[in-house]
Amino acid sequence: MMETTEHSPEAAVSVHLTLNGVPVTAEVSPNAILLDVLREQLGLTGTKKGCDHGQCGACTVHVEGRAMNACLRLAVMCEGQAITTIEGLAEGGRLHPVQQAFLDHDAFQCGYCSPGQIMSAVALLEDRRVPGDVTTVREAMSGNLCRCGAYQNILAAIQDARLRRHGQEGGDDA
């Protein structure tokens, strides 16, 4: 935890993150938002800013495995936490199965909301508590706005990724 040292309001604070599996230390301003630190300071611009108010979901990242809006977290709140961004999904140059499903189903147009949609979809598919029926998926994905309106294809991509994943695991649906 943080030492109880005197901080002037503007003095930078060191934050230690595990970012896409790599330990990173960032010197951040106390009022810096995680989203802005990722994008402007750490150069990970795949996470997008659409509204900066937790309304659109374009900035969705995984914090300790949970999907969260990076625009609603101060960077200093993330001390010691593991954060995964869209850049951390593909492994060994191969698209994550959800990214591949988005490509196969044309589940995007302008692509600006896509990183957030994908991060939410990945978290959704990994959350065994969330049933896999389309009504639930639509409801669960409703925090991610797509103004191009590619919702039908996004839904198809998510459900396809679910099928492929279960095919691989040989497991049944929760």
Binding site: R39, Q99, L145
Partner: protein
């Protein structure tokens, strides 16, 4: 859909060539760019809508850490205005320069631009800027609150519409209103400006639908030759019209970068984006129809009033589609505009026509009810087999096929027309339909194609891909003509250093761009044929044009030599072709429009006051779809936007002071995943070769037209309430009549 032969790429399902970049976060949108030594701009918006800025108190903000400067009226360079000419290619969205004077014309107008070392510092200081205003009396909060009928800016007439209306046995006279709508494109407007060569060269990254328009406008404003201004826009987080022409933030940012001698990036906060970068203006439309008892239309009169701002004259021409919509001898349209104290409106997807089609297609439905006629039959009864506005044949019109096909898939024949007669459990089912239409236009375009030594192909055009798939269809076109696989075609768009391309707007990009790309590709192939048939060439002595092109190789006399081998033999890095195309005289002989039909099922649950769109079945005729998957995606997305227009969306301006109340992505509601109905979209496949060699008419806008009318018509069928004001909200359904 007709089967596409194996070796063809155009017309075939092709994954987007930019998909992987977008889905991995690699795609470089404007907001993603950074430069060494870059500063951050953060605008300060006016908190009143009509008055004078009396003073700014900047001491506290200036003393904040990292603040480099604060630009404002009185502390800003002298600049020129852009002539704002479409013809000269320098149109802008707001002519007034930032900080030009101390007048405030709308809520959110910039009163200052804070520039600081970091984004956090700029934002923090912007909130410390204090302003004193003098509010003026007479604020105009919107057309709904005004009796002023505005100024007439356009009209059309044929026949004797007033006379015919006066003697028609069945008449209808109703007024329809639509709230102002926000584009709410997810990437906010953003500018990164950098000056080089002792302030003689300006490079701007901008999220724009028109790099050349912005380049030309910036050149006029900063008094530079156009070749000394570059505008770059590789990826655009969509636009829907509000990124067609430059807004003041770009001018302020470029001026700040020159003033301070460092690059400056400004990304508009969402609230400011919604206040200052345009919207579909609110409209009020009166439709008068006169008809015979058999349903024949005798008269159509369509009077429209739309808002503009007090600083610009934006005309949202609602009546644009009306003169050619139906076979009717007497038609008149009038367009008026009313200045109000809002930011300047701008085109928004299917501008004008989508508003007009809502009113007209609602009125046609009302007429069908008055005549006790099926609304589909009424539309077919008045079918315009040729363009009644211009007296010319249509190049290709299959609206009848759209109506019939969509009706069949929807199950229209089993609809019980009696109000509220169809139910399912607690829900009352309403079914409605409407026609869709959007004009087909084409712009001049230039392109360059290089066949490269490694066998790949490079294609370049200064148009943009706003999410519609332009990168992909350009690659498909080059692949089609060269036989080189799509994956080996590199496409570069969105730069003013490239050959001049059209705006990404008006559904004109495909029809404008592909002929130029094809011409450039053929020119490059001709250059290669010339090399190959020259001295020492693989086909030395043959007539160049006699060489065939097949799968990335030239072929003749049973021999086949790859492009790469030919280039290697001559030690060439590549051969390049140029293409430049423009619309021809086809418009003298034909009228060009796209058509479609939407059938909508709504479900109204009076017990819990829930109204939802459950099902949409559409058939759309846009000629040929170059990439059927991307094309269908566009139409589906447009239908989703239409659900927003019908049931959700409206900018709320305070009726006391014209302040914009809901300038955020939550209080301004757009459709989310959970709002998605069942969608069944069919694209007819009737290539329009009279329009261009690819038979494509463009697809961005048409899907939106007619959706809101079909919803309103379905709501009437379910509830008996004829709702003529958009958005339709649950409150209007539960209130007594």
């Amino acid at each position: 859909m007709t089967a596409i032969p194996e070796h063809h790429v155009v017309g075939r399902r092709t994954p987007r060539v930019d998909g992987e970049d977008k889905l991995t976060g690699r795609a470089d949108y404007t907001v993603d760019h950074r430069l060494e030594d870059m500063l951050y701009g953060y605008p300060v918006p006016a908190s009143i809508a009509h008055g004078t800025l009396e003073s700014l108190t900047l001491d506290a903000a200036r003393a904040m850490p990292g603040v480099v400067d604060i630009l404002h009226h009185g502390h800003f360079p002298d600049l020129h205005r852009s002539p704002n000419s479409l013809r000269q290619g320098d149109a802008v969205s707001e002519v007034r320069l930032p900080f030009e004077d101390d007048r405030i014309h709308y809520h959110g107008q910039y009163i200052a631009l804070v520039v600081a070392e970091t984004f956090e510092q700029a934002r923090a200081a912007a909130f410390r800027v204090k302003a004193r205003y003098h509010r003026d009396a007479g604020v105009v909060t919107g057309l709904a609150a005004s009796d002023d009928t505005g100024e007439e800016v356009g009209h059309y007439m044929r026949g004797e519409p007033e006379l015919a209306f006066g003697i028609a046995p069945v008449i209808l006279d109703e007024t329809y209103t639509i709230a102002a709508e926000s584009h709410l494109q997810l990437e906010p407007h953003a500018t990164l400006a950098e000056w080089r060569d002792a302030d003689q060269h300006l490079i701007v990254h901008e999220s724009t639908q028109g790099v050349f328009y912005q380049r030309n406008a910036l050149a006029r404003i900063f008094d530079l030759p156009p070749e000394r201004v570059e505008v770059i826009s590789h990826y655009i987080g969509s636009g829907f019209g509000n990124k067609l022409f430059m807004w003041p933030h770009a001018v302020a940012t470029a001026a700040a970068a020159r003033w301070l001698g460092r690059p400056v990036k400004t990304v508009l906060p969402r609230q400011q984006d919604m206040m200052t970068t345009g919207h579909r203006p609110a409209s009020r439309q009166r439709i008068r129809l006169g008809a015979e008892f058999d349903g024949s239309l005798a008269s159509i009169q369509h009077d429209s009033l739309t808002e503009t701002s007090t600083v610009d004259r934006y005309v949202d021409a609602c009546g644009g589609a009306t003169p050619s919509a139906y076979a009717c001898d007497s038609v008149a349209t009038h367009q008026r505009i009313l200045p109000v104290h809002h930011g300047t409106p701008c085109p928004m997807r299917a501008p004008g026509e989508v508003s007009g089609v809502f009113a007209l297609e609602s009125a046609i439905d009302e007429l069908a009810v008055a005549l006790d006629m099926d609304p589909l039959a009424l539309r077919l009864k008045n079918y315009a087999h040729q363009d009644p506005q211009r007296g010319l044949p249509w190049s290709s019109k299959h609206l009848d096929r759209c109506l019939e096909s969509a009706a069949e898939r929807f199950g229209w024949a089993s609809r019980d027309p009696r109000i509220g007669s169809m139910g399912d459990g607690d829900e009352i089912i309403g079914q409605g339909m409407a026609s869709a239409t959007w004009f087909a236009g084409r712009q001049p375009c230039a392109a360059r194609v290089t066949l490269r030594a490694d066998g790949s192909v490079f294609a370049a055009c200064g148009t943009q891909d706003i999410g519609t798939g332009t990168y992909t269809i350009v690659a498909q076109t080059v692949a089609e003509l060269t036989g080189v696989p799509v994956g080996r075609v590199e496409v570069r768009l969105g730069e003013t250093r490239l050959p001049a391309g059209p705006l990404s707007g008006g559904s004109m990009t495909t029809a404008s761009t592909l002929p130029a790309v094809a011409a450039a590709t053929r020119d490059a192939l001709a250059a290669l044929q010339e090399v190959a048939t020259g001295p020492g060439g693989d086909f030395d002595g043959l007539y160049p044009a006699s060489l065939g092109v097949e799968a990335g190789a030239l072929v003749a006399e049973g021999r086949r030599v790859n492009f790469a081998e030919i280039l290697a033999r001559h030690r060439l890095s590549g051969v390049t072709g140029e293409g430049s195309t423009a619309p021809g005289d086809e418009r003298q002989a034909y009228s060009f429009r796209s058509f479609g039909a939407h059938f909508v099922e709504v479900r109204w649950d009076p017990g819990i006051s829930r109204l939802r769109v459950a099902r949409v079945v559409s058939s759309i005729d846009v000629g040929r779809a170059i990439n059927p998957v991307a094309a269908r995606n566009q139409v589906e997305g447009a239908i989703v936007m239409g659900i927003g227009m019908g049931l959700l969306e409206g900018l709320d301006y305070d009726p006391r002071d014209a302040r914009l109340i809901n300038a955020n992505a939550s209080d301004y509601r757009i459709p989310v995943h959970a709002d998605m109905p069942e969608l069944d979209v069919e694209l007819l496949d009737y290539p329009d070769y009279r329009f261009n060699e690819f038979g494509a008419r463009g697809i961005g806008e048409i899907g939106l037209t007619g959706v809101a009318a079909a919803i309103a018509n379905a709501v009437y069928h379910a509830t008996g309430k004829r709702l003529r004001d958009l958005p339709i909200t649950v409150e209007t359904l539960v209130s007594p009549d």
